[in-house]
């Protein structure tokens, strides 16, 4: 069953047709990668899923319900979490507090006027947060500030925040962008581990072919705003259309 369906989505910025009649469906429980050369519209498409951008035409359905016109926090409350290209975390807070906020959002909803509760006494939330931080392999002192972490650890923390919400769909926007090969491999292993323990559908926007072919069950290739091919990884590799789309850039990879 398709958990996320994109139907005839188009988006234009002034003279630039960023998305042109995109159709896509993501199967529940799968890892679906969206790849494409720079400027193919990958990020624009992702922003249409999370309420950042409104498509000009077409619809985005999550579990059969339209996501159009919904605000980012509403979409998250439906069970869609996202990881940013550069890790977005709360740098002024502690590592533990970062994850606890996500867990609070899951338990208490978009707003709760909990003025006289005590964060200290929320042992359930705290335990969940600690367990997930352990799962993603963050070994740092959890009461330390999140600002001094390495980029790889920030990525782990951001993933922990998403996982603590037990999402139905996890969107990953270039999860290995700007990482060294060793960090990239560590992230791939982590994502594989997460897939083994949590049954979460994932959509990965990625540039790095290595990452995509190690993780994805299915790949959609986006070029100039349209999906040119949608197939299994083994069939994508030799596809002449894909080669054409990447020509000139494939050598750089």
């Amino acid at each position: 069953m398709a958990i996320l369906e994109v139907r005839n989505v188009s988006k234009r910025f002034g003279g630039l047709q960023a998305l042109d009649d995109v159709n896509l469906s993501v199967e529940e429980g799968s890892i679906h990668a969206i790849i494409g050369p720079n400027g193919a519209g990958k990020s624009t498409l992702l922003n249409c899923f999370v309420g950042r951008l409104m498509p000009d035409t077409g619809t985005v359905l999550f579990q059969g319900k339209s996501l159009l016109g919904k605000k980012p926090h509403e979409i998250n409350q439906l069970g869609v979490s996202r990881v940013f290209q550069t890790p977005e975390i709360f740098t002024d807070l502690t590592i533990l507090e970062n994850v606890m906020i996500a867990a609070f959002a899951k338990r208490d909803g978009a707003f709760s006027f909990n003025l006289f509760g005590r964060v200290k006494k929320e042992t359930e939330i705290r335990d969940t947060a600690e367990k997930i931080l352990h799962d993603v392999g963050l070994k740092e002192q959890l009461t330390h500030s999140a600002s001094a972490m390495s980029r790889g650890d920030k990525r782990r923390l951001e993933l922990a925040m998403c996982l603590s919400q037990d999402p139905k769909l996890l969107l990953l926007d270039e999860p290995t962008a700007g990482m060294a090969r060793a960090d990239t491999n560590a992230t791939i292993d982590l994502l594989k581990e997460i897939s083994a323990t949590h049954n979460i559908t994932k959509v990965i926007i990625e540039h790095d072919m290595h990452v995509v072919f190690s993780l994805a069950d299915k790949i959609s290739v986006l070029a100039q705003g349209t999906v040119i091919v949608e197939d299994k990884p083994e069939n994508i590799k030799g596809n002449p259309k894909v080669k054409e789309a990447y020509l000139g850039e494939a050598e750089g990879e």
């Binding site: 980012p72 998250n76 977005e88 975390i89 709360f90 200290k120």
Partner: protein, 393 residues
């Protein structure tokens, strides 16, 4: 030991309560132990604590909180005029009215963030100030300010036959009453008005402490750090920021009401932008985002305003009298522009130094000094234990 102290809420409350209640004794040697100034410390402490809930936690810098101070004052005055001289109804009405005002102003201003938010709040506050002078003269009595009069209704109070104006009271206890104790060659003045303000200050400090420790407070701190991430984490930030805005507005309204409880006169100048700026200075000077900082900042500014401004050349000559005359004249010449009428210069200098060298305010200064003492203590201990300094490093 100090780390424990910092995180133990009961100890913080106990320490704070003792310091506030002992205020008249502690501050008497500094020449600040008189009721009028003590009341101002407590009242502006409340104002700054509330402001800190908005600015310190969420990072939204409001430049219009004096409007709520003024609204609180006017509401309390009208309770005194119409209902009774008892302060409780006055406080209740000022809380309600300032909450209503801050919901409206907050709702509109919070559509923007950063500098635009600041400008919007400033505009609303200046608008309130000008309205108080013009259209709303029947309510605010314009330039003269709202005062008590003998012919006011005061329907709950007994008919006033004394021919003199009544004064605010707490169930018959006059707030202006002062007990003077002379001891150790000093005058200690214990004033009911101050103790009433002090109790409100302690309650409001406790509420602020609970907000700091609550999930709500955690979300407010998250708003300051990364509002974008918070939205994508499923949190609707608008009601959180509006909540913080209204809470801080109510604190300001309460402070405004207490101002007229201790001195029953409400003027529009209380709402001017300089008054809004003052509370920003207090919070930053003391330490924005810290619990106790705003109270310390409020105290420091009110102290400067009331004490430095009273130092004139004659007083200065007294200070430097132990030096030869030419040198003392020189010092008086250097220092005199910064005191008396020039006390703002002194305040500006202190503020500049604090912001440059202690971005965390006076509280950061205190933390650094205690940290330094603790590390010194540790070093000397380990030196004793190991007999060498190398082991300590």
């Amino acid at each position: 030991m100090f780390a424990n102290l910092k995180n133990n809420d009961k100890l913080i409350m106990l320490g704070f309560t003792i310091m506030v209640f002992a205020g008249p004794i502690i501050l008497a040697p500094f020449g600040a132990g008189y009721p009028d100034l003590l009341q101002r410390f407590a009242i502006f402490g409340i104002f700054a604590i509330g402001f800190n809930i908005l600015f310190g936690l969420t990072g939204y810098l409001s430049f219009g909180h004096a409007a709520f101070l003024g609204v609180g004052s006017y509401s309390a005055m009208w309770m005194f005029k119409l209902l009774t001289m008892n302060v409780i109804p006055a406080l209740i009405l000022s809380v309600i009215i300032s909450a209503l005002f801050s919901v409206v102003i907050g709702y509109m201003s919070l559509r923007r963030s950063g500098i635009y938010f600041s400008i919007l709040t400033l505009a609303f506050a200046q608008m309130s100030y000008n309205l108080a002078y013009s259209v709303f003269t029947p309510v605010t009595n314009g330039e003269t300010g709202l005062q008590l009069r003998l012919q006011d209704a005061r329907i709950l109070d007994a008919v006033n036959t004394s021919g003199s104006l009544p004064s605010p009271s707490l169930f018959g206890l006059k707030l202006s009453a002062t007990t003077v104790v002379e001891a150790f060659g000093m005058r200690f003045q214990f004033n009911w008005g101050f103790y009433f303000c002090a109790i409100v200050l302690i309650i409001m400090f406790y509420i602020s402490l609970r907000i700091f420790r609550s999930p709500f407070g955690l979300m407010l701190r998250a708003v300051k750090t990364n509002q974008n991430r918070l939205n994508y984490t499923g949190i609707n930030t608008r009601p959180y920021t509006l909540g913080a805005f209204v809470i801080s507005g109510v604190y300001a309204g309460l402070a405004g009401a207490l101002l007229v409880c201790t001195d029953p006169l409400a003027g529009a100048e209380r709402m001017q932008w300089t008054a809004s700026g003052e509370v920003v200075l207090m919070t930053i000077l003391g330490g924005a985002g810290t619990l106790i900082g705003p109270v310390i900042g409020a105290g420091a500014i009110k102290y400067a305003e009331n004490i430095f401004s009273k130092i004139n050349d004659t007083v200065l000559e007294g200070y430097f009298a132990f030096m030869p005359e030419t040198i003392s004249d020189f010092f008086v010449f250097i220092v005199s522009p910064f005191v008396g009428e020039g006390w703002h210069l002194m305040l500006g200098l202190i503020f500049m130094l604090v912001v440059t060298f202690l971005p965390g305010g006076l509280v950061e200064g205190a933390t650094r000094i205690t940290g330094w003492i603790v590390s010194l203590g540790k070093k000397s201990k380990s030196v004793d234990a190991n007999g060498s300094t190398e082991a300590a490093e």
